[in-house]
């Protein structure tokens, strides 16, 4: 699964702090402030209670036989493969885009930055329709793709990846851009004065410096892609084996068999939590 994980740049990047602050800062001691603890725990409860609802209602006695059904594994495999490739696509396109937004002055930058968040605001189903209008069989680009290369994206696994990448990319871009803006520019300037080209500066200085942001963004992006429903079902359709990912299987199961839907949701949750938790230990410095 780690195909989107960056090569060998661990937490021990340029640590130690640009501002000369000790990296292993001592914890602020003293009484925990109620003003923070109470809302924090309420927030946690709010996020976790729906999960508890699923766990309480799960048909534990038939859980295993439901899991063994081949279409469950098929949907799970498809979900994981598509979310991972979509994240790779987002990394390849999104990191440079974030760099452009954070490091290059150009007219209309604010507008571009706002446009990047469009997929966040757009209801995913509308996003799916928009993708159809552009990349569909009669879409602006899709028409040309089909005529020139014989490629049609809707109703294919590639279509699932496109839909997921469209919806998930803003998470990566925003997170990486934030990291870039917070990073100390003096290191880049120093490298530049020593004769490094902008590309070298990016590769050898900037990227290692913002790697935690890239990883965090990649994780968000992957999680969003994994749970993607609306854009996928609208743009890529729903057919077992090619485009029916777990969220689609869950939605359909909900129509007739709510218990099966709960099982499927729990599988998706469990798998994503396991993957994210193990990645976190490896790639993100423990907080």
């Amino acid at each position: 699964m780690g195909s989107f994980a960056p090569e060998r740049v661990g937490p021990e990047g340029p640590r130690g702090g640009p501002a000369g602050r000790p990296a292993t800062g001592r914890e602020v001691s003293g009484r925990l402030p109620w003003m923070l603890v109470v809302p924090a725990l309420a927030g946690l409860a709010f996020l976790v209670l729906p999960l508890a609802g699923l766990l309480i209602r799960a048909p534990w006695s038939t859980l295993l036989e439901r899991l063994a059904e081949p279409h469950v594994l098929e949907a799970l495999r498809l979900s994981l493969v598509c979310a991972t490739i979509a994240t790779a696509v987002c990394l390849v396109l999104g990191v440079p885009l974030a760099w452009l937004l954070a490091r290059v002055e150009f007219p209309g930058r604010r507008l571009v930055r706002a446009l990047v968040t469009v997929p966040l605001v757009l209801p995913p189903v509308v996003g799916g329709v928009a993708l159809l209008l552009v990349l569909g069989r009669r879409g602006l680009v899709g028409q040309w793709l089909e005529a020139t290369f014989g490629i049609t994206l809707p109703f294919t696994t590639a279509g699932v990846i496109v839909a997921e990448a469209f919806v998930a990319m803003p998470f990566l871009v925003i997170s990486v851009e934030g990291a870039l803006r917070a990073a100390d520019r003096r290191f880049e300037e120093a490298a530049a004065t020593l004769g490094a080209s902008r590309w070298t500066v990016f590769r050898r200085v900037t990227l290692p410096m913002v790697m935690p942001g890239v990883v965090a963004g990649g994780v968000l992006c992957w999680a969003r892609a994994l749970g993607e429903f609306g854009a996928t079902i609208t743009f890529a359709g729903n057919f077992p084996g090619t485009t029916r990912t777990m969220p689609l299987a869950v939605y359909l199961a909900l129509e007739t068999e709510p218990e099966a839907a709960i099982v499927l949701s729990l599988v998706l949750l469990a798998v994503s939590v396991i993957i994210l938790a193990s990645l976190r230990d490896r790639w993100v410095s423990a907080p």
Binding site: S29, G30, R31, L32, W34, V37, V38, L41, A42, L44, A45, L49, A52, G53, I56, V129, L132, L133, G136, R137, R138, P154, F155, I233, T234, G237, N238, F239, P240, T243, R244, L248, Y251, L252, A253, L254, E255, T256, P258
Partner: protein
């Protein structure tokens, strides 16, 4: 000393959270009474009355029109609609959503509500038949059901779990045909969208949906559709917060005026 205090600072909210958790475990009846009492108190004050109708997505246009008729006939009354997939609506009702009337696109979804003793005995008020929908220019030259079996024809069907998909399977079985669709959509409107956008060459949808999308798609009738007719049942809910108004709305749907509106949209008389 500080340690102690901080432990307390954590313990109390955790206890509260757990209390919330256990409340959630036994939750549904409490939740439903809460919502019911809220809406009945709303209808009690000052004569502002409300009827909440849960109806299948395919009834969106006709029921919205009937709702306006009802409001005109009962001044001071508002009709609120919740349109959606019949199965989803049935689930919302069994989970305690405060509804007065339920109109479903299939007897099976109505049955989940009547089985839970939440609705009175349902009446079938209309029927809906499938048609083949093709894009306006009919690129694949489809003119009968058999044409959908051609592998070069891209076909969208509803998933078997939703009523239009079940009907499609029945019709294809009746015709002895095997169709491999490119997609199994989650509801009939999504299936139709694929045709409207020209992403597929044909789809099986309801006649009413074809009429609602007039100008964007063409409908083709086929004889096997008669073997897959969908009944639409309607019922008032036993705990209807609006009481008599619920019955009156159902009467309007069943009246000649209601039937007229539904017939114009392409529904067949029950």
């Amino acid at each position: 000393m500080f340690r102690r205090l901080s432990r307390w600072a954590i313990a109390l909210p955790v206890a509260l959270a757990l209390a919330g958790l256990s409340g959630c475990g036994s939750g549904e009846p409490a939740a439903s009474t809460a919502t019911t009492s809220a809406s009945s108190s709303a209808s009690a004050d000052g004569g502002a009355k409300e009827v909440t109708v849960f109806a299948a997505a395919s009834l969106t246009e006709t029921f919205t029109e009937l709702g306006k008729t009802f409001e005109a006939a009962h001044p001071g009354t508002t009709v609120r609609f919740n349109f959606g997939s019949s199965a989803t609506l049935a689930q919302q009702i069994t989970q305690g959503a405060p509804a007065d009337v339920f109109a479903a696109a299939s007897p099976a979804t109505m049955k989940t509500v009547t089985d839970a003793s939440l609705a009175g005995s349902p009446t079938t008020f209309v029927r809906n038949k499938l048609q083949i929908a093709v894009p306006q220019d009919n690129p694949a030259k489809v003119d009968e059901l058999k044409d959908l079996t051609d592998t070069k024809v891209k076909v969208a069907l509803c998933a078997e779990q939703v009523p239009c998909g079940a009907a499609a399977v029945k019709a294809l079985d009746a015709a002895g045909l095997k169709v491999t669709p490119v997609t199994l959509e989650q509801d009939v409107k999504a299936t139709l969208t694929k045709v409207e956008l020209g992403e597929v060459d044909a789809a099986l949808v309801y006649k009413t949906d074809v009429i609602a999308a007039a100008g964007k798609v063409q409908g083709i009738t086929f004889p096997e559709a008669d073997q897959a007719i969908n009944d639409y049942p309607i019922a008032t809910l036993t705990q209807a917060p609006a009481g008599d108004l619920a019955k009156q709305f159902m009467d309007l749907v069943l009246s000649p005026q209601g039937k007229d509106v539904l017939a114009k949209a392409g529904f067949e008389a029950a």
